[in-house]
């Protein structure tokens, strides 16, 4: 367990909190969309389906982020709600969009995680820039 904590810290320890939240949302979105792709052997979906699925997964990811980060880790639900919502919408839709194009469900979770890190990093950078 100590090694797992150390490994997690080594991989994700330098990331800002927005990236960590984004990565959680992205890996959830990637996981479920990947499962859906491999369960139904999906073709490339039209944009309207990507948006529908992305929004549904964004809602789930947002609620999980609020529970885990806001409540369990005591950051406060009100303190993170809006930022996490924007993060969730962008990350989940982009994750579904990317996985829909790439069509490789075996790495869908990983793709979502990376997209979440990038979106979170950009959002943190933007917030810092605005002061």
């Amino acid at each position: 367990m100590k090694a797992l904590f150390a490994l997690a810290k080594a991989i994700f320890g330098k990331l800002p909190i927005c990236s960590l939240v984004g990565a959680i949302i992205g890996s959830i979105a990637g996981f479920f969309f990947g499962m859906l792709q491999s369960q139904l052997t999906l073709p490339v979906l039209p944009m309207i389906d990507v948006l529908r699925i992305g929004l549904l997964l964004a809602l789930l990811g947002w609620l999980i982020a609020l529970l885990v980060v806001g409540v369990w880790l005591h950051y406060g639900v009100a303190a993170i709600a809006l930022q996490a919502f924007i993060n969730a919408i962008l990350t989940a839709i982009l994750t579904v969009y990317a996985n829909n194009l790439i069509q490789q469900p075996i790495i869908a979770t990983f793709i979502g995680l990376v997209i979440g890190i990038l979106i979170g990093y950009i959002l943190c950078w933007y917030c810092r820039k605005r002061g």
Binding site: M1, M35, L36, Q39, L40, L42, W72, H74
Partner: protein, 305 residues
Amino acid sequence: MSNGKPACGPQGKPTDDVLTFILAVLGAIGGIIGAIKAVTSTTIVTILGISAPAGVWLAAVAAALVTELVVFGFYYKRCLEKPEGLAACSAGVVNGIEESFNSASDELFPFTAMHDRVDVVIKSMYWFLAQNGAFFIKCAGDALGSPMILSFYESDEVCGAGLGATIGGGVGVIGGILLGVLAGAAIGCATIILCLLALLIAAIIAAVVVIVGAFIGGQIGKAAAGDSTPSASDTGNAVQVGNYITTKGNLITSGDVDGARVYWFVTNTTLHGRSTGTPEFSFTDPDTNLTPPGAGDACPPPIIG
């Protein structure tokens, strides 16, 4: 003896160990189970007479495992980790006390409860302890912004709740998976949206059952452990706001409190009477009233030269 007052607030970027752990667990289990589904051609799986799409089974398994590992992660971090720190001693005045299980969320999710915490405005001669290796300097709300060291007292209640929640969650894993799969199978995979809903419902129900198990186990563990409050090591008197206090223990940089230096845990507490002031306290209070330095408190006198 006083050195320059450290600036309050962030001194760098801390790491939230539990959050990075949760992300690692999510990424690893999600990645592995997603990959298993991607390389297997089976579409319907029947276990214990329950037939459901393979994805529904795997979504429920993933959610239950991640949830249980997260519950255990909290317990490990709170009670089993024993991080190495600096054996230190400091003194000051108690500015605030945060007891464990002081919120509805701690009662609902007992594995997330934190140990009892005593916030001490320290004498200026101990500022270096709050500053060295810190990513954040916690300060009182007085006009001077007096540095504090947060002192955690190991709570049997918190550890009992953590252990109970881990066991309760573990018991809930199997039930959660079965219930989740039953619900997911009832929805089925006739269309894309229905199939996505089946996956989500299976996972949510599996996770919720594990959390319910953790709640029940946590409450049982908490009740079995009994209540404890921070108290003096010699007299057993309870620590109160306004007490002059000496704390000895293991000083670490804690990601749980923004990277501030904290005692995790206090091993010895000495009380020295009460301040006539009220919170928010200034460091000038213990500097003036808990004197002479190194003798007015219970820390060993500083080595000079």
